[in-house]
Symmetry: C3
Subunit: 351 residues, 3 copies
């Protein structure tokens, strides 16, 4: 089951030049994204109303898409059938669904539900490849797993201490690090959760040694996880004592010594396959030569660790579907996020 | 659901030498074709009556087939069990089904239904590799799609103007060509449809320029599509004015300036896989050196275009099984053919 | 459906060094085998009680296994949860199932049912890679088939005369050899069948020509096939007349001139995939240089012949699930074994 009334990631705007189309499967539905000659991006049902051929195998003609099976042509902006070769005019039913589409920071988002409910306020506040404030790498990865298992993964970062020992180089000592040893603050939002975690008096990492006079720093990790699967995390470093000084609030008037920002979206393709898009990087001003490349390599390595773990988890779920989860203190984020999704889907069904 | 009482294509006679066997799956059933030493071709259930091993993994011994799992031997012509090693004689039930088999023009056909109803009149009037009148290329291709989608494809040739722009080199102008712009005459037959289409006053194609004095010609395409999936098409070129002179009838006393003939059969292997056999070529007298090779390359290129389109269509059908087709004027052939198949299958079920 | 109360093969003890783990799927269940630092071998449910991640992707820490998803740690011997990072102590339900495990002769066996019923008497009396009496090759092979078809294969060795003509080099004459022409003695056991077959006055095989004065020998093949899929076969050669002298009993006081011994276990992974482990070889005293290597090559060749036949048999079963087997005189072993399995599974269900 999927949430329909939501913005789903659908690739990178840069990858789709004028006259180009790309097929996506999103929450089980075939969707074609097309860039018209004037640069307009449209998203339509990738299923010709005539006999269900893929419009993405067709071609863009001005402001219309022609199915190259039997030549039916649709208005690219409205989905209305414009031409059936050999026929005076198309039947009224000859139309395909259009989806609201929005580009933010080079990310393409498609609204899969009722277009009347498409709300730009809900477009995830991601940062994209051309952001000036952040020097971001970007990429994507496909999982052979249901998206809920990936949501679970991202809503409980205690897994960092275990899954990513190698990629993040946390070492054995990390087990008792704050990620796993202490609970973050989890706040439930209308459409997600908010997670915050301070590590006070941590050692100074080499890459900011020059900025720090005392021998210790405070670290803050803060993220929103938004329905249906959007992860937006700031990792920040502050002078020692900042946490105490703000009473645990995220500082509003203190500049972090260092900050990076990750945007990630989890997009169900089918019930058992999911596409994952991400950007990640440090503030531009904190970025040194080679840093984005190293960050990208580390990110990909880390995501492969997640993918391996989660795909086997899926396989075990499938082999033993009667399983029961045993709770831990770290489940709160993942469980609350499941409840948020349940609430949203039930409301959507009821409407 | 499949039609059983029908002749299904099962490969090329030349490919099966004496002592050779080949396994086919036809309408979901395993079938072994075997060429006996005297040249007789037989078709049997490829499923040993003992424990369902493949007879096609066995060997031909004289007029019998021996299953090489436990050695049970069957009469290759009747399917009756002849020998069970170590047993005085086989039980009465030890027999496999035989299928009527017929070779026409080098095509092998197998009757998958009630043998008593196997009617040679129904063997498709294909032309084969050794035909003297036609210089034919031949080949085969497998689709990951249900056969009905391929029948649909072949019963509505308006797709030529779109799917095959590249392979047939029709160019953009072709969109308004007769294939897509005008409806052919479709006549419903007892076991199929008959489709005919004239294009009057067409430009003279280069390869017959020498035969044509005036600057224009009339083109005729005429084909039968017969249950369960047999396409037999003549494409002919006549002097300009022929269509008018015959009142649109296919000429009986005027030789075409040029003619080619395509025989194609669509053979369901399973519900989601289909094998496709074809021959195609011009009249031998119209054939110049290199022409069959070029025709074969073009044919294969065109069929790959169909395959790509139809396989994605199948995938979209599977993802969104609740789809509804919107009709066009060109659907008549495909729809009538679906009705013919429905009628035949219902009659078969009722009998 | 699978028998649970049984020892199932799970690889070779030598392949699992201290600190190593290996994942198996046995009768559909994920199982992790782990070798602790002190050499103890343990088998546990390969499914973390927390969120069903694979413990086999984790690591061994002393006498415990840590899931490397969120760090939950289990006692490797009892399955009891020992640690949940960040939590005072694990919940009572935080435990994974343990499976009794036993190593015999280098073979690992896991008891998949009620641990209280795990009976060492039922550990298959296999011979393993380091056996001194037998010079054994060993290996494994995966089948895309249900295990019952493999049990059937091994319970009716009349197939040797047909499936293995090439690998065993029996030649055409073998068809009327004892394997297929005569029935073995089949005795039903509590948990399997016992099969015995004499061939009297057979020609002397070259490799024991030096030991035999007369021109003929008696051959004995005797095997147990035990639930759920254990094949233990002795092939022995005796002086001519031995069978007559013992009244067909296996000699207790006559040394065979030659003997080899095969141990094989059939382990269902899923309903449609099965792992097969084997050792095979002659008595060490009968073994000449190069013999084990030749025997291994022949064994693998023969098992590939079985695999090809059985996998196609599975495919035919799946295509035509309504099939009915026609009996032969050689079915007794396979049928009795199916009945033994049915009886054992019904008793298990009833308990």
């Amino acid at each position: 089951m999927f949430l329909k009334n939501a913005w789903y990631g659908a690739g990178w705007s840069d990858d789709l030049g004028p006259g180009q189309m790309k097929q996506h499967f999103i929450i089980g539905q075939p969707v074609v994204l097309a860039r018209l000659a004037d640069g307009t991006l449209v998203a339509l049902e990738d299923r010709c109303a005539h006999r269900a051929a893929a419009l993405s195998y067709g071609q863009i003609e001005g402001d219309s898409l022609r199915c190259m099976y039997h030549g039916v042509r649709f208005d690219a902006r409205t989905g209305v059938g414009l031409e059936v070769p050999g026929q005076a005019r198309p039947s009224d039913g000859m139309r395909v669904r259009t989806y609201p589409v929005h580009v933010r920071q080079g990310w393409i988002f498609v609204w899969m539900g009722n277009p009347a409910k498409a709300d730009l306020v809900l477009v995830p506040p991601v940062a994209g490849p051309h952001n000036r404030e952040w020097a971001l790498c970007h990429g994507e990865m496909d999982y052979d797993a249901n998206y809920v298992l990936i949501n679970d993964n991202l809503c409980d970062l205690s897994h960092l201490s275990f899954v990513h020992v190698e990629s993040f180089g946390l070492g054995d000592a990390s087990r008792l690090s704050a990620w796993a040893a202490e609970r973050p603050d989890v706040t439930v939002l209308d459409r997600g959760i908010h997670v915050q975690r301070w590590v006070e008096g941590a050692p100074v990492p080499p890459f900011i040694a020059e900025k720090v006079s005392s021998g210790r720093i405070d670290r803050l990790a803060v993220y929103d996880y938004l329905a249906p699967g959007v992860f937006l995390m700031f990792a920040e470093i502050y002078p020692e004592g900042t946490c105490r000084a703000t009473g645990g609030q995220r500082p509003t008037d203190i500049e972090p010594l260092y900050a990076d920002f990750a945007s990630q979206t989890v997009v169900p393709m089918t019930d058992r396959s999911t596409r994952y898009y991400f950007t990640w990087g440090a503030r531009t001003r904190d970025t040194k030569p080679g840093m984005p490349e190293r960050m990208r390599a580390m990110t990909i390595a880390a995501f492969k660790e997640d993918k391996r773990m989660v795909e086997m988890q899926q396989r075990i779920h499938d082999a033993t579907p009667d399983l029961v989860f045993q709770p831990t203190v770290h489940d709160r984020g993942a469980n609350q996020m499941r409840l948020v999704m349940k609430r949203l889907m039930e409301a959507e069904q009821a409407a």
